[in-house]
Amino acid sequence: MPNFIGSPVKRVEDKRFITGKGRYTDDIVLPGMTYACIVRSEHAHARIKAIDTSAAEAVDGVLAVFTGQDMVDDGILSIPTGWAVGDAMKEPPHYPLAVGKVHHVGDGVAVVIATDKATAQDAAEQVMIEYEPLPAVVDATAALAPDAPIVHDGLDSNLCFDWELGDRDATDRAMAAAHHVTTYELVNQRVVPNAIEPRSAIGHYDPAREELTLYTSSQNPHLIRLLLCAFVWPDLPEHKVRVVSPDVGGGFGSKIFHYPEEVICAWASKKLERPVKWTAARSESFVTDAHGRDHVSTAELGLDAEGNMVALRVKTVANLGAYLSTFAPAVPTYLYGTLLAGQYRTPHIHVNVKGVFTNTVPVDAYRGAGRPEATFLVERVVELAAKELGMDPAELRRKNFIRPDEFPYDTPVALQYDSGNYEGALDKALEMIGYEDFRREQAEARKQGRLLGIGFSSYIEACGIAPSQVVGALGARAGLYESGGIRVHPTGKVEVFTGTHSHGQGHETTFAQIVAHELGIPLENVEVVHGDTSRVPFGMGTYGSRSLAVGGSAIMRALDKVKDKARKIAAHKLEAAEEDVEFVDGTFRVKGTDRTIGFGDVALTAYVPHDYPEGVEPGLDENAFYDPKNFTFPFGTHICTVEVDPDTGVVRILRYVAVDDVGNIINPMIVEGQIHGGIAQGVGQALFEGAVYDETGQPLTGSYMDYTMPRADDLPSFEVGHQVTPCPHNPLGVKGAGEAGTIASTACVVNAVVDALYHRGIRDIPMPLTPERVWRALHAGGDGAAAAAAPAGGNGQA
């Protein structure tokens, strides 16, 4: 029996994808299907004075036109957020279709449902909406000004919450006593996740059984069902609702959230008693999928004369967009402020975050969610401190790392890091990149007028989201455990049920590897089932690098139950005491003898219990719920080298080295793939991406013509190294790998570019580091930094 753990098993899900047989939501066609087209606001902020649907209704093939008021009148309520930040947090209503007022460009106003897609689109243009445009506010800092337009009626400002963490007084005192303070003002620009599959939903109401099936491109079908039935549509009984997330073409966070279109398709299907499908056009995705990041921050890092970090003070204004999306309040707070210690022993940290409403698309979790923002801030300010102190950036980091013997380590921002070896990862990365050699090469190149740079990013993340009691105390409105089920069939074939969802992560392979390994059966005898509330008991979905750490642990618990019961059956059949029976490589054996029974025979016995132990139920089908004890803490160091073309400002990444410690690795091929993709997205934010609005709230980057993401020829191949420090508190010793690359790489690339240009007086360039911005920084004369670094607002306002 091969050892499946740690083996680069080829993915079982691939066959359907490489042959064009993947089944994404938009691929599903149901009898009697109708098509929804949503009429969206072109105004960032306006009162709806009148909606005339008559012309659209008269179009041949149109079945219905509904407005927000129609839905509210029928008992549809506001879509809630899943998190509260303090009791004073403002949570204005978010109706699936706007009622009374639109709050951002793209806000849905009406839906046209027709017998085919083209008719729905044509008729949508016939819906006449009379608006009274209102002044809009786009920039989060501007939204806090006393005379700013107020986004929501009934609120007296745009402040959603004002949150702080850490000991303010102690931090202020330590800062005042510091030998050196490095100050860094930064914009972590708004980006658009852009999973390549546009979001899609199909509502399918069966009037005969009074059951609703919702197909949706979601990362967490159970959570969608819970939010839909418990909050948005209380008349809809949860046990009569099935939510299916079939193959999903990437998520990166943006498909976690409960979106209006899911409610619209479900509700309209019941109204029309026909299936209703909606699929976003890409230009629609840009104004409806939740965006990411969008922070404006000031960081101050205090150091003593020896270069020890003594205090970190952070002030952040976080743009939340027009509505509170599902995870939105948690992202710039619990997932950001708590990570500001980074890998360092900084004893005093204080952070203040103001969450602000603006007339823009809602902002929520995007790959890394808060942790990339924290890492970017910490790693940029640490890099700048090294430059200002004339210290080697690797050595400043090393000097301040929490040491391996200091774990578990309580940070001043509420987390307990359970394990780590930060210096080990740094050393390995330095060795892989050939640090000394590069510094020599850099010095040589500079003499020839070439600009080479090297950048570091030593990151930490809190993953495996999350211990329910901890997040409950913080304000989560749901638990964040996971379920796992093992159903052994009479022939010994096994179905695995997980409440996590795979949309590229390869769960159908990784989870099968675990089960095949634990039960000693061939991989092809294991089928992983996910993404269907009618098949999986419950689940919280996939985000926050939680699937293996939490979902995998639940499967391990269920496996324990299966093995315990199987052992009882085996002992009975072998006429031995249970404790004398061992289970090795798929066979139960009486220790020290050659008396054995195979797992398959035990399975058959469980379902044909003619000769069966007393007091044991027939069947071999076990469920478990696993609630983690703590977050997991993956970490690592990424180093990249860049060359900046002084004539064009183009940044080319020469090499990219990543050393990550994600704990034990089940499938190294999949883990490396996750790291690669993560790096690419972080590089995208550093060099290419940025969502831009004009001052009236019109999005200027509303298509792939205007929003740039990394293409194949923009990136190098990556050099990935691993270090393994197992997670001490889950049964697999795993931590999660989905977000590490993105969390690390943005700061890494920007640090490298600044390293290349620092001697030219440039200490920062705001992201994305486009050729124009780099060129301008280089050509702004002696005070290049100031010219290039003028923050342009959180959304990179044009």
């Binding site: 993915r11 066959k15 994404y24 938009d26 691929d27 890409r282 590229g504 793939g673 690669h676």
Partner: protein, 161 residues
């Protein structure tokens, strides 16, 4: 309505379509060939890449009527005889896909490259695929997958010769 006759994956199809029907919609909605995906509305993402008379095109920039009388190959036609195309095999062997959404378009674009350049360098592969977005893999393993296929196709060619 316009009457068209298109050979798709070796099979002839006759249909009446609206002149504005895009080739990708014709493939997906009329023929049920949903392996060809739509990822954008500005011909930037490449998820809908198919072959038209043997050359790769983005099926969202071609009207169905423009394909009248011509031959189209989609991802479904790459393993029509039951055996995987070396590129399909390469994407699996080298983990060149994650969510799978861009994969059909990537494979079709790469197949066009390998027809003209049986031994492309990494830079040539990256250049040839710059019209296709992948948001999952960072392209690293896609490059490996194409290299795998190129190697295998060269070996097959040698054996046949």
């Amino acid at each position: 309505m316009a009457h068209i006759s298109i050979t798709v994956n070796g099979k002839r199809h006759e249909a009446d379509v609206e002149p504005r029907t895009l080739l990708v919609d014709f493939l997906r909605e009329h023929l049920g060939l949903t392996g060809t995906h739509v990822g954008c509305d500005t011909s930037q993402c490449g998820a809908c890449t198919v072959h038209l008379d043997g050359r790769s095109v983005k099926a969202c920039t071609v009207f169905a009527v423009q394909a009248d009388g011509r031959s189209v190959t989609t991802i479904e036609g790459m393993s029509a005889d039951g055996a995987l195309h070396p590129l399909q095999e390469g994407f699996r062997e080298e983990h060149g896909l994650q969510c799978g959404f861009c994969t059909p378009g990537m494979i079709m674009a790469a197949a066009d490259l390998l027809q003209h350049n049986p031994d492309p360098s990494e830079a040539e592969i990256r250049h040839a695929l710059e019209g296709n977005y992948c948001r999952c893999t960072g392209y690293h393993n896609i490059v490996r997958a194409v290299q795998y296929a190129a190697r295998k196709m060269r070996e097959q060619a040698t054996v046949e010769a």
